[in-house]
Point group: C2
Chain length 202, copies 2
Amino acid sequence: MSRFFSDVFLALVHYPVTNKRGEVVVTALTTLDLHDISRAAVTYGVRGFYVVTPLDAHKELAARMWRHWTEGYGSTYNPLRGEALRNSRVVDTVADAVAAATREAGRPPVVVATTARDVSRPRLSYEVLRRQLQESGGAYLLLFGTGWGLAEEILLKADQVLDPIYGPTPYNHLSVRSAVAITLDRLLGLRGGEENFRQGTE
Amino acid sequence: MSRFFSDVFLALVHYPVTNKRGEVVVTALTTLDLHDISRAAVTYGVRGFYVVTPLDAHKELAARMWRHWTEGYGSTYNPLRGEALRNSRVVDTVADAVAAATREAGRPPVVVATTARDVSRPRLSYEVLRRQLQESGGAYLLLFGTGWGLAEEILLKADQVLDPIYGPTPYNHLSVRSAVAITLDRLLGLRGGEENFRQGTE
């Protein structure tokens, strides 16, 4: 019941995204985003996590962090962080993330953009995408924007745009770290009555 | 349908928690935790967010941050952060968080601890607690531990312990920021078919 037949990939986009005035900008990569999101990705069985940034200095920062936790002192201090980061990789552009997921999955992914803002096209609900992930056997790439969210060009080019996350209030300004965690749980989390990986061993 | 009749409070505990060797320690307060968790708390209609730390230097850090975003330059630069922080408050101990929630709600809260580790007592499922929050009209205080999680004494003293968060894999080492976001969405998020606050205005 809880088997997900599809390959799910995830990208954290630092360009092109908007700032609070709606201008398209590059945001700074933060190592905490990479830790939090790689840990959530591994928890939910995501096959690859792509960090999208065109900036060489930020690529180098990510690479140093990656080495520290997977090979350096961090790998013995806290091996769980390295385990989480092993599925992650830095790429230059969203197109490169799509290409990497295509190579990895052996077929092009359905690109699903996320945004808390309004967008002039129909949205996909979590329930419908969850059913697709369980049944279609396809590849899917979920895009998350840093800053104030993915730029319009990405939202228009993606194959689908997922519903925004709302709780029972009108406030919807979650951090990208929280938004990724909630989205993965809604799409890939176990539901009451679904088969649990642990049940086989208990 | 999606009305939550109960008052939900949340505490982020920096003491007593364990380190990776299982020793009871005080962890450092990080401002990013406070931002992420206060934004998630406001999104899900949490009535109060208590930051538990006994350390004066960390209380002062939280107070400076609070002033910056609710009164200082940050309040005009990004008013959404101040809006999120207005429901938050620093307290010395878990007992003080319980007392503050009691004063705020007008009745003592059911204290619900969370942990990813094993615990020698029965656990509450998300579905059961969700139904209680919708129907009981009580007050509830959810406790989250930083570091490697809440100390045993808190897990044993709490009224209930919530199930750990698992995805479809055995890896369950989420950050506390991700764990809070997922827990609030599971307990207080809208479900397909439930009434949406936005439907009244559309």
